[in-house]
Amino acid sequence: MSRLLQIVLLLCACTGLLSAQAQVSTNPLTTPAAPPMPSPILSMDAARAFDAANQLYDAGKYTEAAARYEAILRSGQTSSALYFNLGNAWFKAGGLGRAIAAYRRAEQLEPRDPDLRANLRFARNQVQGSTLLPGPAQRFLGRLSLGEWTCAAAGSVWVFFALLTAGQLRPALKRPLRNYVLAEALVALLFCSALGAALQQDRSNPTAIVVTRDAVVRQGPLDESKSVFTAHDGAELQVLDQKDNWLQVTTDSQHLGWVRRDEVVLGNGLI
C-alpha cells in the first residue's frame, strides 16, 4: 500500500508540476497571443473563403492567396489544411521562411500528415547555410501533437486511478491487478514525462525562423555590433534570450548571436 501511495503522490506531483508549468509561462516570447478580434469571417464562411484562396493559388496569385489564408486565421479559425495551404502559398511566393513557419504550425495540429512532412522536408532542403534541424528527441516528441500528448497522459492517469479505485472497492482484485497497476503507473509516468518535455519544447524553447533574404546575426543587440554569421531565408534558430527588438539565437555551439526581431517569425507565434 505504501508503494502505491508513493506512486500516487508522484503522479499527483507530476500533474501538479505540469499544471504549474503551463500556468506560469511568463516568457513574453511564448505567452499565447491575445484572443483574436471578432472578424466578419464566420466559421460557416471559412470554407468558402478557403475555396476562394485555393482558386487564387491555382491562378498563380500566391501572395494574394497567402493573404486570404491569413485572413481566415486572424478570424480565430484554424486547421491543419489551412496552415498547409498557407505554407504552399508562401513557398510559391518565394517566402521560404514563412512557408516553413506555416508548415510547422500545421505539424503541431497534424504531426503525422505525410503530405505535410514531405513539404516541410522539401522546404527545409532549400535552406542555405546554418539552420537548426530537429534532433532525435524533438522528432520523437513531434510524432504526437501537444493535445495528443495531453490526452494520452490524462488517459493513462485516469486508467491508473481507475485500477487503484477498483482495488479499494474490491480487495479481492488487488493482487490480480497489482502488475497492471505498476505497469500503468510506468506508462502514466512516461506519458507525463513526454508531455512535460513537449510542453517545455513548445513553451520554453521557441524557434525563430528567418523570413528575410539574409539576416545578419551580430555579436550584440546593436546594429553597430560585429557580424557573427548570416542566416538565410528559412533558417531555423533557437531563441535563448530577448532584449528590446533583438533576439539572442543559436544554431549550435559555434553560432551564437543577436538577430533583429523583425527579420524572423517565432515558430509557435503568429505567421
Partner: protein, 610 residues
C-alpha cells in the same frame, strides 16, 4: 667619427612577443637610457632645421609579400600621424612608429619614423605620390616613391635542382582531358628543405576557371631527394569538379609561408635565429574540358558523371491501395556524390510519389567516394498494380568515355483494394503522360478540403475545465480509500458491528410495529416489541439477546445505576408484554399508543454505557 644609436621599440603588435623576462629587462634599460638621452638633446634639437624623408625598405616585391614605407622626421615632428595618399590596389596600413637618437662627435640628433605596411592586391608598378606635412609651420614633402610588384612564379628548374631553393611547390593533375561533371583530385606538393621549419602557411590563390573546388586535405609527409638536396614533401589533395567545357588553365597555386624559427630562448642567449617570409607558386597547367557526348544519352540521364553501382529495395510488398511503400535506392561509387539526384521514373504513373530524402556516407576524406542512399515514399493508386516497375539510373563513365545504364528489375507487389478511398494526393504543377515532373522538384499541392476547424486558443492542458477534470479520478480514489477504511474498521470490531446491526434492526422493527399496529395484529406486535427490547439490551449488556428477560432489570441494570426514569417504563413494557400473552386482543389504537413509549425506552437504553 663615433656613433651611438639605439632604437626605441615601436608600438606594433610584434612588441608583444617580447615577453621573455630577460629581454624585457634589457628593453627597459634601453628605454631608460634612450629617454635620458632624448631629454639631454631636446634643447639642442631646436637649433637644427626639420627634415622629412620617405623611403621603402625595398622597391621590388612579389605579390603576396609586403613592403614597409618609413616616413622619417628629424629636427621636429608633425602634430599628428601623417597620412599617405591612397593608391589603387595598394593597401596602406599604419604599423607603428620608432625613435632613434644619434650622437656624432658629441652632437645629438633625434629621428622619429612612422612606418606603414604596403600590401599590393595585384602585380604591377605602383607610384606613391609625394607626401606633404606641416612641421611647426614648415611645409615638408617627400619625393614620389616607386614600388614594383611581380607576379608570383615558380623558381626555374635549375634552381630547384641545385638545391638553392629553401622551399618550392609543384601542381600535379591526373589528366589533361576532363569531361564536364567529372571529378579529379589535383595535388599540390610543398617542398621544404629538410630540417627547415615552416609556419603560417596561407593559400593566397588557386585560379581554376571552369572548376568547382571541393575539399582540400593534407596528405602524409615524406622525404624526397631533389638534385642533391633532401626536402620534406607535404602533399595537399584538392577535389575539383569540371563545370563547363573549353580550354582552361589551372593554377598557379600561390601561398605565403614563414620559413625558419624565432625561438625567444635563442634570442635571449644571443644565438642566431632567422625567419624569412616566402611567396611560393606553382606552374600553371593547361586542361581541356570536354562536353559530354550528345549521342547515346539514356532517357533518364540527369547529369550524373562518375562510376557507380546501384541496389534498390522496396517494402512492404503486400499492402492495400493508399498504403505507402518505401523505396530505398543506394548508389555507390566515385563521383560528386552530393550532386547526385534520383531521375524521374515515367513508368511509375500508377503511384503517387513523394520527394525523396537522401544521405551521403563517404569512404574517403575528399568526399568523392562512398554511397548515397535515397529513400522515397510511393503509394499505389489502384489494386491493378502488380509490381513496382523497373528502376533505371544512367550516368556517364569518364573512364570508359560512354554512358552506362543500371536497371533494377521490377519488384512484385500484392496490392489489395482499400476499405475506404485513399486520400487523394496531388503533385503541384501540370502532370501529363510522359511529362512527369521529377518527384523532388516540387512540393505536394494544396489540400482541397478545409478539414476540422478549431478555435485558436490556449492548449488543452491550459484549459481550466480540463485541469479541474483531472481531479476527479484522484477524488474517486480517495473516496474509495475512506470507504475501505471504514469497512475494514467495522469488520474488525464485533461490538460496533452488532451495535450497527441492532440499530438497523430497531429501525426496521419500529416500521414493522407500525404496520402490525395498523393491522391490529396484537400477537405479532408484542412478539416484535419483546424482540426489539432484547436486541437493544443484549447489545448494551453484551449478552445474547435470547437470554434477556424482565429479570435483567434487577440483576444487571439497577447495579449499573441506570435511572429509574428508564427502568420504570422498561418494566412497564415487559409487564404489558406478559399480559398480552394471556389477553392478546388489543385495539389498534392501544397498540399505536405503545410506540412512543417504546421509542423513548429504546433511546434511553442506548444511553447506557456498554
Amino acid at each position: 667619427m663615433q656613433g651611438l644609436s639605439c632604437e626605441m621599440p615601436s608600438t606594433t603588435p610584434a612588441a608583444g612577443l617580447r615577453s621573455v623576462a630577460g629581454w624585457a629587462l634589457l628593453a627597459n634599460v634601453k628605454r631608460l637610457l634612450a629617454a635620458t638621452l632624448l631629454l639631454l638633446c631636446l634643447a639642442t634639437l631646436s637649433t637644427y632645421a626639420a627634415t622629412f624623408t620617405g623611403s621603402l625598405d625595398r622597391d621590388t616585391i612579389t605579390l603576396g609579400e609586403s613592403a614597409t614605407l618609413s616616413l622619417a622626421f628629424s629636427g621636429g615632428t608633425p602634430g599628428t600621424v601623417p597620412t599617405p595618399p591612397e593608391v589603387p590596389n595598394l593597401q596602406i596600413t599604419f604599423s607603428g612608429n620608432s625613435q632613434e637618437i644619434t650622437t656624432i662627435n658629441g652632437q645629438f640628433s633625434a629621428t622619429v619614423s612612422y612606418n606603414f605596411t604596403l600590401t599590393p592586391r595585384q602585380p604591377g608598378d605602383f607610384t606613391i605620390p609625394a607626401i606633404t606635412v606641416d612641421v611647426a609651420g614648415q611645409k615638408l614633402a617627400t619625393q614620389p616613391l616607386q614600388l614594383k610588384v611581380l607576379k608570383p612564379s615558380p623558381p626555374p628548374p635549375a634552381a630547384i635542382q641545385s638545391g638553392s631553393q629553401p622551399a618550392f611547390m609543384r601542381l600535379l593533375l591526373p589528366k589533361k582531358e576532363i569531361y564536364v561533371g567529372e571529378t579529379i583530385v589535383a595535388q599540390v606538393q610543398i617542398y621544404v628543405r629538410n630540417g627547415l621549419p615552416i609556419s603560417n602557411f596561407q593559400t593566397t590563390g588557386f585560379p581554376a576557371e571552369g572548376f568547382t573546388i571541393g575539399k582540400q586535405i593534407e596528405g602524409q609527409h615524406r622525404l624526397v631527394q631533389v638534385g642533391t638536396t633532401t626536402y620534406a614533401m607535404i602533399p595537399v589533395n584538392i577535389a575539383l569538379q569540371a563545370v563547363k567545357a573549353g580550354s582552361v588553365t589551372v593554377g598557379p597555386y600561390t601561398a605565403n609561408a614563414v620559413l625558419g624559427s624565432r625561438d625567444p630562448f635563442d634570442m635571449f642567449f644571443g644565438r642566431s635565429s632567422e625567419q624569412k617570409q616566402m611567396v611560393l607558386a606553382t606552374e600553371s597547367q593547361p586542361v581541356q574540358l570536354l562536353p559530354l557526348p550528345r549521342e547515346g544519352v539514356p532517357p533518364e540521364f540527369n547529369g550524373a558523371v562518375g562510376t557507380y553501382s546501384m541496389s534498390v529495395t522496396a517494402g512492404p510488398t503486400n499492402l492495400a491501395v493508399g498504403d505507402p511503400i518505401t523505396v530505398r535506392v543506394q548508389l555507390s561509387g566515385r563521383g560528386w556524390l552530393d550532386a547526385l539526384a534520383l531521375p524521374a521514373q515515367p513508368a511509375w504513373h500508377d503511384f503517387n510519389t513523394y520527394p525523396p530524402t537522401s544521405k551521403v556516407e563517404t569512404t574517403d576524406s575528399l568526399g568523392l567516394q562512398g554511397t548515397k542512399t535515397f529513400e522515397q515514399v510511393v503509394i499505389p493508386q489502384n489494386a491493378d498494380v502488380k509490381a513496382l516497375p523497373p528502376f533505371g539510373f544512367s550516368f556517364f563513365d569518364p573512364d570508359q568515355k560512354k554512358y552506362r545504364r543500371l536497371e533494377q528489375p521490377a519488384i512484385a507487389l500484392v496490392v489489395r483494394p482499400a476499405g475506404a478511398a485513399a486520400t487523394p494526393t496531388y503533385l503541384a504543377g501540370p502532370r501529363t503522360g510522359s511529362d512527369n515532373p521529377t518527384p523532388s522538384q516540387d512540393i505536394v499541392a494544396n489540400k482541397q478540403r478545409l478539414g476540422t476547424l478549431a478555435q485558436i486558443g490556449a492548449p488543452l492542458l491550459l484549459q481550466p475545465w480540463f485541469l479541474t477534470l483531472q481531479g476527479l479520478p484522484v477524488l474517486a480514489f480517495l473516496g474509495a480509500v475512506v470507504w475501505r477504511k471504514r469497512t475494514d474498521n467495522l469488520a474488525n470490531n464485533p461490538r460496533l458491528r452488532r451495535r450497527r446491526h441492532v440499530a438497523h434492526e430497531i429501525r426496521e422493527g419500529l416500521n414493522h410495529l407500525r404496520v402490525q399496529a395498523e393491522q391490529n395484529n396484537s400477537e405479532q406486535f408484542f412478539a416484535t416489541l419483546v424482540r426489539l427490547l432484547q436486541e437493544q439490551l443484549g447489545e448494551r449488556l453484551d449478552v445474547p439477546a435470547s437470554s434477556i428477560t424482565e429479570a435483567v432489570i434487577d440483576e444487571q441494570l439497577r447495579p449499573r445505576r441506570v435511572p429509574e426514569t428508564t427502568l420504570a417504563p422498561l418494566a412497564d413494557l415487559f409487564q404489558k408484554c406478559n399480559l398480552a400473552r394471556y389477553a392478546p386482543v388489543k385495539s389498534s389504537q392501544e397498540l399505536t399508543d405503545l410506540l412512543p413509549q417504546l421509542e423513548a425506552v429504546l433511546a434511553n437504553l442506548q444511553e447506557i454505557e456498554a
